[in-house]
């Protein structure tokens, strides 16, 4: 082992940290108290003594009925919020009967084509009590409106529902790939959503500005927070340019971070991100409300850190990553199933993942006092260093003209691709140890149980869609879609005509096609 040691972000780790490292360091300005500026120590004064984080397991597969069943299983097992995964056609604005949907229906999430599907997905769920996060971006407005309409049908007013749509298109261009429209058109839909929710769905988190996927695509921890916060700046800029007041929408912005294995680097990352966002909202955007300046976040443990080899080892990785998220002050948490390098989680793996959070929450004592690592010579030095490096990236993106222009120039993608390549090389040449993969491997790794997807479901989903389309008033659908096209061509908020189209049973694919006709599709 060489004398020089660097963490995953390339920050040199000294052999020892001591009081001298914090000589010029002022705890009052760097930390404050939990729930106070600059929020390094957390967004609430009592943190988990008041209430544990929301245990929110991401789930969704197959038909709306099967996902509804899994939701009920998870709520029954003590989960406190829902998080829905949608299949790729739903995410890309294709109905299940579209040729491009072939082979993808119900695979990585649940298939939702119409209001009929959404009613089945949310059947018998207490929408006035449970909060629901939906991992949906290009078609986020449609799913939000479907949720609102089903809640209305169940007698729950829009003002009472709460949850999150991911709605973060910039990271789709950077890292995740489920974009439909070009960046500037996507920004328009996003600001329309901000405006609509401020008026009608005030408790909804209108965006989850996501570093998760940037990290999964191979970025370092510093790049994760830097590129994501730069995207956050772009959303705030766009909304202000559209005429919204910063304090009107900023309190509903939320973030989504990853948790990888380098424990202290991760804790420092969450703390640095909170401080950076506070300073940006306070100084750059002159927000007045305190709630506009808080970086509230969800965390998911790192899917790319899981190994297909000796998959039970992943239970330990997930536990370490969850501890980092909790010590970093997360507001909600998803823990991965140990079998997720191979398939969607089996029920057994999903239960162990949830139990991991419950053990941390109820047995470990980690939750007894906020930000327990504050004041550590090492953690404070690392937090400052991650903040400094992230701010360098953000300044560079500003120089390129902001996140949208940088994306159009391919900047973030190139940086991430290089980091991913270096990471792969470091495993290949054994500089980096992955237990069970390039060290401590075994030959008799038994084949684990994998989650089965019913091959018949695509046919069933198409059949239901066919019946739905046959039973409606086609003239009304056409008129509603024409109204949506008109709004999209002008500057009116597109959510109102979308909602009318859903009321007359237009499908997700039809609404998306109408917008594709006006906005075009993005070709990188």
């Amino acid at each position: 082992m060489s004398d020089e040691l660097r963490n995953d972000s390339g920050i040199e780790i000294k052999p020892l940290y001591s009081a001298a490292d914090l000589d010029d360091w002022d705890p009052a300005s760097k930390l404050g108290a939990p729930g106070e500026q600059p929020y390094t120590r957390g967004v609430y004064p009592t943190m988990y003594r008041g209430k544990l984080w929301t245990m929110r397991q991401y789930a969704g597969f197959g038909t709306p009925e099967s996902t509804n069943e899994r939701f009920k299983f998870l709520l029954g097992a003590g989960q406190t919020g829902l998080s829905c995964a949608f299949d790729l056609p739903t995410q890309m604005g294709y109905d299940s009967d579209h040729p491009r949907a072939e082979g993808e229906v119900g695979k990585v999430g649940v298939a939702i084509d119409s209001m009929a599907d959404m009613r089945l997905l949310l059947k018998d769920l207490p929408l006035d009590k449970v909060t629901t996060s939906m991992t949906i971006n290009s078609t986020g407005a449609i799913l939000l409106l479907m949720y609102e309409l089903v809640a209305e049908e169940q007698g729950v007013p829009s003002s009472a529902i709460s949850g999150t749509i991911q709605n973060d298109l910039l990271k789709e261009y950077i890292a995740r790939g489920t974009y439909v429209y070009p960046p500037r058109q996507s920004m328009r839909i996003i600001t329309d959503i901000f405006e609509y929710c401020a008026k009608h769905v005030p408790k909804w988190n209108t965006i989850s500005i996501s570093g998760y996927h940037i990290r999964e695509a191979g970025s370092t921890a510093v790049q994760e927070i830097a590129f994501t916060i730069a995207n956050g700046i772009a959303y705030v800029d766009a909304a202000i340019a559209a005429g919204l007041d910063v304090d009107e929408f900023a309190p509903r912005l939320s973030f989504f971070w990853n948790a990888h294995n380098n424990f202290f680097e991760e804790v420092a990352k969450y703390r640095a991100a909170r401080r950076i966002w506070f300073n940006i909202m306070n100084d750059r955007f002159k927000a007045k409300k305190e709630s506009s300046k808080l970086l509230r976040f969800h965390t998911q443990t790192g899917g790319s850190t899981l190994t297909a080899q000796q998959p039970e080892n992943n239970i330990v990785r997930v536990a370490l990553q969850s501890m980092a998220a909790v010590m970093g002050g997360t507001q909600s948490l998803h823990t991965n199933g140990f079998d997720e390098a191979l398939s969607l989680p089996t029920e057994r793996a999903a239960r162990i993942a949830l139990r991991t959070q419950q053990i941390i929450g109820y047995e470990s004592g980690i939750v007894d006092t906020p930000d327990p690592l504050a004041g550590s010579y090492f953690v404070e030095t690392l937090t400052d260093e991650m903040e400094r490096l992230a701010l360098e990236y953000i300044a560079h993106i500003d120089e390129l003209g902001g996140a949208v222009a940088a994306i159009e120039a391919g900047y973030q993608m190139d940086e991430i691709e290089n980091a991913a390549y270096e990471y792969a090389k470091s495993i290949d040449n054994d500089e980096r140890v992955i237990v069970g993969l390039n060290k401590f491997a075994v030959n008799d790794d038994p084949e684990p149980e994998v989650f089965p997807i019913n091959p018949e479901l695509e046919r069933g989903q198409k059949a239901r869609l066919g019946e739905y389309k046959a039973a409606r008033d086609q003239a009304k659908v056409q008129a509603a879609l024409a109204a949506l096209v008109e709004a999209a061509k002008g500057t009116d908020n597109v959510l109102y005509p979308m909602k009318e189209a859903l009321r007359v049973d237009a499908t997700l694919g039809e609404i998306s096609d109408a917008l594709r006709g006006v906005f075009g599709v993005y070709q990188p």
């Binding site: 790729l88 949907a101 082979g103 080899q309 390549y421």
Partner: protein, 136 residues
Amino acid sequence: MNTENTSLRVLVAKVGLDGHDRGVKVVARLLRDAGIEVIYTGLFQTPETVAASAVDEDVDVVGLSMLSGAHMTLAPLVVAAIRARGVDIPVVIGGIVPNGDVAELKAAGIAEILGPGAPADEVVAAVRRAAANASV
């Protein structure tokens, strides 16, 4: 053909709607490091567009990155689309393929299947093996 010394040309592709391209981009660079010429299609290809590019580019091997569970539908369609053009370019899959699916994919004409965590030399060897077997 002596596949050890002759320069190979490989088309790596993302077919279907999955946008996760970390793996395919890293594999493209690792293959290039091994002296193989690599063309990457970009996201959202169909079996037809992959087959057309493979023939146009006159590649020796097609590599598909499949993570979304659509491999049982899409990978055999890629093989069929290539063969429909009167050529038999071998197809290698990398990504998430449960062991239970391997026999059926092999029967559909998939040459090699690489799972999560496969090291670079294993990926390069699989590509060279696929090319060598096809040229016999």
